[in-house]
Symmetry: C2
Subunit: 64 residues, 2 copies
């Protein structure tokens, strides 16, 4: 399977946010995520980095 | 392999931009992409949608 896990990057640490993400859609200042099981989450922030080989999506809160 | 192809979405069409993308890093108004073979490209625009199951990254120019 080629999904990835989404983590929130904060203070140098990565915290799991949503596993098995299939779909990622930026919507203004938010990121809509949906996983293989239909679970949906909307994160207030931006994509910091995506590595598909590492199956990793790193999200970060946007600093005002 | 779990890489994806990056396409530019324009006028309802999708044009191949970079194959076998591993890494995607937003950098301000640009998106840095690197593929499995070390090829690098920087796109002036934003991510419209990513579907990992479809192995597809859709990029779009940002309208001023």
């Amino acid at each position: 399977m080629c999904e990835a896990n989404a983590y929130i990057y904060k203070n140098g640490k990565e915290e799991l946010y949503l596993e098995n993400v299939d779909l990622l859609i930026p919507e203004g200042s938010k990121i809509y995520l949906r996983n293989l099981f239909g679970e949906q989450k909307t994160f207030e922030g931006h994509v910091k980095e995506i590595s598909l080989l590492k199956h990793k999506i790193l999200l970060e809160e946007t600093k005002e």
